[in-house]
């Protein structure tokens, strides 16, 4: 009755991905944007684990470990950039860092 298939994981992962994407695109505070990026990476890992289970293949889990390593590096560098931005501007709001008009 409550059998969990890969489809359940796909839907959950898509929901987390979309929530993270909305956070990245809409929030003005850079700290929350970095947190949303972590959410997106986590949702990808959820998919990798689900397919690893589906096909009984460990490759997905190993790729997940690498994704976590990349996320750790990304968080460290992103937060260092944030500290630099705060020193320069006295704020962490991305609207105050729009020289490149991105």
């Amino acid at each position: 009755m409550f059998e969990i298939t890969t489809n359940h994981y796909l839907v959950l992962s898509a929901m987390l991905f979309v929530i993270g994407l909305v956070g990245i695109l809409t929030r003005r505070n850079m700290i929350v944007v970095l947190m949303s990026i972590e959410l997106v990476l986590n949702s990808v890992n959820l998919n990798l684990a689900a397919f690893s289970y589906q096909y009984s293949d460990l490759t997905g889990q190993i790729l997940g470990v690498f994704v976590i390593a990349v996320a750790a590096g990304e968080a460290a560098v992103g937060l260092a950039i944030l500290v630099g931005l705060y020193r320069l501007r006295g704020t962490t709001e991305l609207d105050h860092a729009s020289e490149l008009k991105g």
């Binding site: 003005r28 889990q61 690498f66 460290a76």
Partner: protein, 177 residues
Amino acid sequence: MEFLLVNGPGLLFYLFAALAVLAAILVVSSRNPMYSAFALLVSFLAIAALFFLRHAEFLAVVQIFVYGGGIMVLFLFVIMLVNLHRVQEAKIYGMQWPAALLLAVMLIGLVSWVVARVQFSPANLAPAALVSVDGEVVGNVQAVAWQLYQQYLLPFEIASLFLLVAMIGAVVLARKE
């Protein structure tokens, strides 16, 4: 009792999935970054539980260590360093929300379309493959380690090099002039 034993994993999936989604919504919507950080921690732990349910024990424990421990402390330190005693901004969302809404609806639509068309079988073909080395059952951590040091040694070394570069980059970026 019978019901719980039979449907335990399914019920746990729904519990932790709901927890992860609610915490994720709180991360994106709360005004104070500190609340966002704690909601993010809840989301990480719920996702770690979901890894356990998919027989990815090593991934789950690494998730708790690296995300729940390392990255979380990094976030909390930076929030305390940067955001203390600051007036909360009146507007927390920027102008990109129409684009974000469009992308979100499109992506949810795409995934729903795919999920509705594809049916995966509920059970996997050979669950023992996730916990064994050369046909001998040893556990997920040893199986992952075996693969990691045999077949994926070069990516593993590149990942360690990447972490070194990221560390040096972070130190260089954050130091005082």
